[in-house]
């Protein structure tokens, strides 16, 4: 085999491979669990069809033993079809995200932890939601009672790899509609031979006679670095189908009708404002919502979002209720009925089919919310929101010039992505600096006391730091940065960011504390201590070791071993009866 991370040659269901266990039972696979490799990528594949009597119906779930609750099945059925009448014939692709219902379930996939620790925060596996990636075919078919063939092939996954899974669908769905179940079976078995997604690795993923090559981003990647460059560094072979990214959409294409409002949209997303995206198709709706949620990277968008949402969804009532303020969520919808249902929401982005004015894409206008009540709502951003920062006119000019010069969409997207990245970084760097200053001093960490506390985050203290080290250092945009921070503190995105940082810092403190214990002179400390105190120390150290391994604290293996040795030394110094007791403990 090559050193390349290509698929393991051990297909599921092969007994008697390089002897791991002495007598493999016939018919049992080499993988510890059936579908273990498959479920590192996908939960299941669904086929949703239109039944004359039932409406949308689940025709098939594969692997057959994968359990979806009835609620999930119903939601998937509706989310996999256009919500309102769509006369368009042909194939369309879109994505959705749905809430898992029925509590935690055992997946075949063992450990989210390791992947989630190394993946960028924005690409972590979802624990309470599923993503659905849909390939919908609608063609005339006189053999069907309805005169139409309407069917969706849906990949259900916990990974937000929209680009990978939509590319995969492009390959497999047309073949599936032609060759049916054996094709699906073959594809799933091929995916069950894929290497797991390991952040930082470039993987070869064989499927249907083709090898897809793609790199899984890692948390330690430099933000905004070119995936192609990383690919070259690893000096891998060219593969037939190289995907530049598992998750990145063509941002420029998605944002074409709203380029001049990028600043406003970025702020609305940063603040976690409730937004409805009303689009002419599930494709446009889902791409716009996913583009919006990705525009904060590397900051994680911590609110709920639904790239495509229908009136049949089980959360419909929850989201449309008028008894509470609208939730912090971005929903993409196509059914005009939502304009009426969601007219109390503060921001509605209505996009139409892309229109050109001259050689430039027509830009939607900002409109008053009061204009919304008409039945046929014209494209526009319906909001009373005033941006805190001024818009970046040079960026817009540059992008528009690029359109006139027919600059490739990829390059335009790269420009746009870079701009958004720099904007987010300018905003977040002062926060990172401030929170880092809340860490106790190294000398405050002593072995015989509990690790010191991280100092509390005081918004006013933070605001004071802005005068000298604010975003003005890295960003030319003028405006009310202070006001933006104040609003941000109230948003779920701040909360999510703060919790994440606080968790990391706490773990760092615990790690440093363990190291301090390692450096300490335990024997000297024990001299004048009572047995009770010593036993207490043993128990505390043990607890620390368990925490270190459970939480994967950033400690060297060496440190852990030394602490283990200390425990042995301490126990050895105690009377024998206590020793046996502690060893049995």
């Amino acid at each position: 085999m090559d050193a390349l991370c290509s698929a393991d040659p051990r297909p599921r269901g092969r007994p008697g491979e390089p002897p791991v266990c002495s007598c493999p039972e016939p018919g049992l696979g080499a993988s510890p669990l059936p579908w273990a490799r498959f479920s590192a990528w996908l939960e299941c594949v669904c086929v949703v069809t239109f039944d004359l009597e039932l409406g949308q119906a689940m025709e098939l779930v594969y692997p057959y033993d994968f359990r979806l609750t009835e609620k999930e099945k119903t939601n998937i059925c509706y989310l996999s079809f256009p919500d309102s009448y769509s006369g368009g014939l042909g194939d369309t692709q879109f994505s959705f995200r749905l809430r898992q219902s029925g509590g935690q379930r055992n997946t075949h996939f063992g450990d989210d932890g390791e992947y989630n620790r190394e993946a960028p925060l924005t690409l972590q596996r979802e624990s309470a939601h599923y993503f659905g990636y849909v390939y919908f075919r609608q063609v005339k078919d006189s053999s069907m009672k309805r005169g139409y063939f309407q069917k969706s092939l849906v990949l259900v996954s916990r990974l937000p790899y929209v680009n990978l899974f939509q590319s995969l669908l492009q390959l497999i769905a047309p073949e599936y509609f032609d060759k049916l179940e054996p094709c699906l079976e073959a594809v799933c078995n091929e995916i069950d031979q894929w290497p797991p997604p390991v952040p930082g690795q470039t993987l070869n993923l064989p499927v249907m006679g083709i090898v897809i090559q793609v790199r899984i981003p890692s948390r330690v990647d430099k933000p905004g670095s070119s995936p192609l460059k990383q690919f070259n560094q690893e000096n891998l072979l060219p593969a037939p189908l190289v995907l530049p990214s598992v998750h990145e959409l063509d941002l420029f294409r998605c944002f074409q009708p709203v380029l001049i409002h990028i600043q406003m949209l970025w702020e609305l997303m940063l603040l976690g404002e409730p937004i409805v995206v009303m689009a002419p198709s599930p494709t446009i709706s889902s791409e716009m919502v996913l583009a919006l949620t990705s525009c904060l990277a590397p900051l994680k968008y911590c609110c709920d979002y639904r790239p495509y949402f229908t009136i049949h969804d089980s959360e419909f009532k929850e989201y449309t209720t008028r008894t509470q303020a609208p939730p912090n969520i971005v929903v993409g919808v196509t059914n005009p009925f939502f304009i009426k249902t969601l007219q109390h929401w503060p921001h509605l982005l209505r996009i139409g089919e892309l229109k050109m004015s001259g050689d430039l894409p027509k830009q939607v206008k900002v409109k008053k919310l009061t204009k919304l009540k008409t039945l046929d709502t014209k494209p526009g951003i319906y909001t009373s929101y005033k941006t805190f920062l001024h818009k970046d006119k040079t960026l817009i000019k540059r992008l528009l010039k690029g359109i006139q010069r027919k600059r490739p969409s990829e390059v335009q997207s790269a420009l746009l992505r870079r701009h958004l990245l720099e904007l987010t970084q300018s905003f977040i760097i002062p926060l990172e600096h401030y929170i880092a200053s809340l860490m106790p001093l190294q000398r405050a960490i002593t072995p015989w006391k509990n690790p010191p506390q991280i100092r509390p985050f005081r918004q006013e203290d933070f605001m004071k730091t802005l005068e000298h080290a604010g975003p003005q250092l890295t960003c030319v945009l003028k405006g009310d940065w202070l006001g933006l921070y104040r609003r941000f503190f109230k948003s779920p995105n701040f909360d999510g960011w703060y919790r994440q940082r606080h968790k990391e810092m706490t773990q760092k403190l615990e790690a440093l504390h363990l190291e301090a214990i390692c450096e300490a002179n335990i024997v000297a400390w024990m001299k004048d201590k009572s047995e009770v105190e010593i036993v207490d120390l043993v128990l505390k150290l043990r607890e620390k070791l368990i925490r270190a391994s459970c939480h994967h604290l950033p400690v060297k293996e060496e440190t852990l071993q030394r602490v283990g040795l200390y425990i042995e030394t301490i126990i050895g110094s105690l009377p024998e009866d206590l020793q046996t007791l502690l060893h049995h403990h």
């Binding site: 085999m1 092969r14 016939p26 249907m208």
Partner: protein, 238 residues
């Protein structure tokens, strides 16, 4: 040393030993209780041939009838097809002839065909005479060997013979192996120029597609999955 990627697919009736041949070639092991393949399984092995490295991208297909319609996905773009029959089962040899016909009609035009009569360790229950099979193979200009995955007979030889039959890079440019590299070079070149010229005056997607299309069409023994390369050009980021 130049590296060439060669897509190879295995075809043939169920139970003739396609997976066992691949298993022997890639892992040098054998399992008498191997399960039937579902869909296809993929493995790679790189071997040196003269002054080149040949990386075999092996697609081992399912022999069961219900997967029959999937075969084109696997022989599409293949440099070689190994069609396997079982020397102790006459009917598997008839199936083989159908595969040859299908490849002639729908397979890549210059595909190298190799016929492997597997299970030659079971000579005493033989149903297909070696000479008959050899004559047939000669008549269609195919490679022919009798193999035993169980006893490791003629397995490596089979792949060496495929290496030999694949048009070499020197005599027949542009050849299959260098094509993906060249493609990558083209793409890299454009990416660099985009960066250099301040993102203006770059070739459009359309131009790039034309270049690739011309290139792909002109390389007759291009081994990769051509149509996909043409319509799905990797998106580049500067």
């Amino acid at each position: 040393m130049a590296l060439r990627e060669l897509k190879v697919c295995l075809l043939g009736d169920t139970g003739v030993g396609k997976s066992s041949i691949v298993w022997r070639f890639v892992e040098d092991s054998f399992d008498p209780n191997i399960n039937p393949t579902i869909g296809a399984s993929f493995m790679t092995k790189t071997v040196q041939y003269q002054n080149e490295l040949h990386k075999f991208l092996i697609w081992d297909t399912a022999g069961q009838e219900r997967f029959r319609a999937l075969a084109p996905m696997y022989y599409r773009g293949s440099a070689a097809a190994i069609i396997v029959y079982d020397i102790t089962k006459e009917e598997t040899f008839s199936t083989l002839k159908n595969w040859v016909k299908e490849l002639r009609q729908h397979g890549p035009p210059n595909i190298v065909v190799a016929i492997a009569g597997n299970k030659c360790d079971l000579n005493d229950v033989r149903e297909v005479m070696e000479k008959d099979a050899k004559d047939y193979a000669d008549s269609i200009h195919a490679i022919f060997v009798e193999t035993s995955a169980k006893n490791a007979i003629n397995i490596n030889e089979l792949f060496i013979e495929i290496s030999r039959r694949i048009p070499s890079t020197d005599t027949n440019p542009p050849s299959s192996g260098s094509a993906p590299n060249l493609l990558c070079d083209i793409l890299k070149h454009f990416t660099l120029s985009w960066a250099k010229f301040e993102l203006c005056a770059v070739p459009t997607d359309c131009a790039l597609q034309t270049i690739l299309k011309v290139y792909v069409e002109s390389s007759t023994c291009f081994t990769e999955a051509e149509p996909i390369l043409v319509c799905d050009i990797p998106r580049m980021h500067v």
